[in-house]
Symmetry: C2
Subunit: 232 residues, 2 copies
């Protein structure tokens, strides 16, 4: 049996079933709770969220277009396996994408929106002090970055950034399981200061360092070890 365990998620009023299925699966993949190689069946998912194949299939198509899922030749669907090379590509792409997104936000972001960034950063510090779950920290960190990039009203890049996050999710799940304690360092304050000065280069530098010293800090050997440990 599928026996797919999905964290419950509130379903806002008026949200369609396929949209709900999409959001719920996406959330699960993003925080690494679905393992690469794990078999995903349409009927299994439909059963798990008490609906039917049709809307689940729509959700799966979207997720595969977002790079979160891969459709095999057998037409079976799974979370893509990670490799050290693919991880390197993802980090390099993440850096380029987010530096560009940050630069493009500098001319649009308001002081009020920067204040919001300060709030999120504070919430993150509190969560660290409170020793909240790694998942909570991850989501707060994403909220910081998303808030920054979407300050640009004509921005086109956010879905691509989220796609990279989605593709990194499963590896994060493995890391959270096998690494004693993940260090959470960030360069958010540096980014905020640069934003206040409207210094695009400095903002991009802060974002670059933030990624490099965060998830980008995994060394090749460490990645290979983790993947071996997880039986990937």
């Amino acid at each position: 049996m599928g026996a797919l365990k999905l964290q419950p998620l509130v379903r806002p009023d008026g949200m369609t079933t396929h949209e709900y299925a999409h959001r719920r699966l996406r959330q699960a993949i993003m925080v690494g709770s679905i393992r690469p190689g794990e078999a995903l069946t349409i009927r299994g998912i439909a059963e798990a969220m008490e609906s039917s194949p049709t809307p689940v299939r729509e959700a799966l198509r979207r997720l595969s277009s977002e790079g979160a899922l891969k459709v095999l030749d057998n037409r079976r669907i799974m979370v893509p396996r990670m490799t050290a090379d693919r991880f390197g590509e993802l980090i390099a792409l993440r850096t380029v994408l987010e530096q560009h997104a940050a630069r493009r936000a500098v001319d649009h972001i308001t002081e009020k929106q920067i204040d919001r960034l300060v709030e999120i950063d504070k919430a993150q510090d509190e969560a660290i002090a409170r020793k909240d779950s790694a998942t909570t920290l991850l989501l707060l960190n994403q909220e910081f970055h998303r808030t920054l990039y979407t300050a640009n009203p004509d921005q086109i890049i956010m879905p691509m950034v989220e796609s990279v996050w989605l593709q990194l999710g499963p590896f994060l799940g493995i890391a959270m399981e096998y690494v004693e304690q993940l260090y959470f360092v960030d360069r958010h304050q540096e980014a905020i200061a640069a934003l206040r000065k409207r210094d695009g280069d400095a903002v991009a530098a802060a974002i670059g360092a933030d990624i490099r010293e965060g998830i980008g800090g995994f060394e090749r050997g460490a990645i290979e070890n983790l993947l071996r440990l997880a039986g990937q």
Copy 2:
């Protein structure tokens, strides 16, 4: 009635209906043959390609995730409208993405693959001399870029590049209709020379210039004029 006219497209053996619907719609959007704001109905598309709503819906979900289509609050689906600001974002993003993709391909591309690029470039020159349709030229140009970027076996970026192409498609359709003759200049030979020398910076510079002097060359005023002419 929808009266959606879709260019015929061969359906490879074994291709599923939703995949075929996806490819056919994608192709139509990519070359600008579906106008922004044009009403797209599930049943209309299903009828046009002699199938049923279910697979068409899957195709539409994928295309909306790829940024090619937008789902309105009414749940109606259409090709997004272009604005001068959005166009600017798309060109800036296209430049960053493709320069990165090109850089990342330099270390992987083989001499044989570079030879293939030469062939495609030659085919392009012949098509220009033959005064082939703008669509043909567009597709050849895409083939050149795609061949270059996918030389990197672990590449993650291609779907994002294609997403930008898709989002530029409808504007290209408008431009092709209202502009007397589109100039086709490219920096492909420069890129090829740089690839042979394995000079990443030079390759990126060539790609940057290629985009800037190609579709990126539309000036803000020209874009606004075109959009006004097309009643957008």
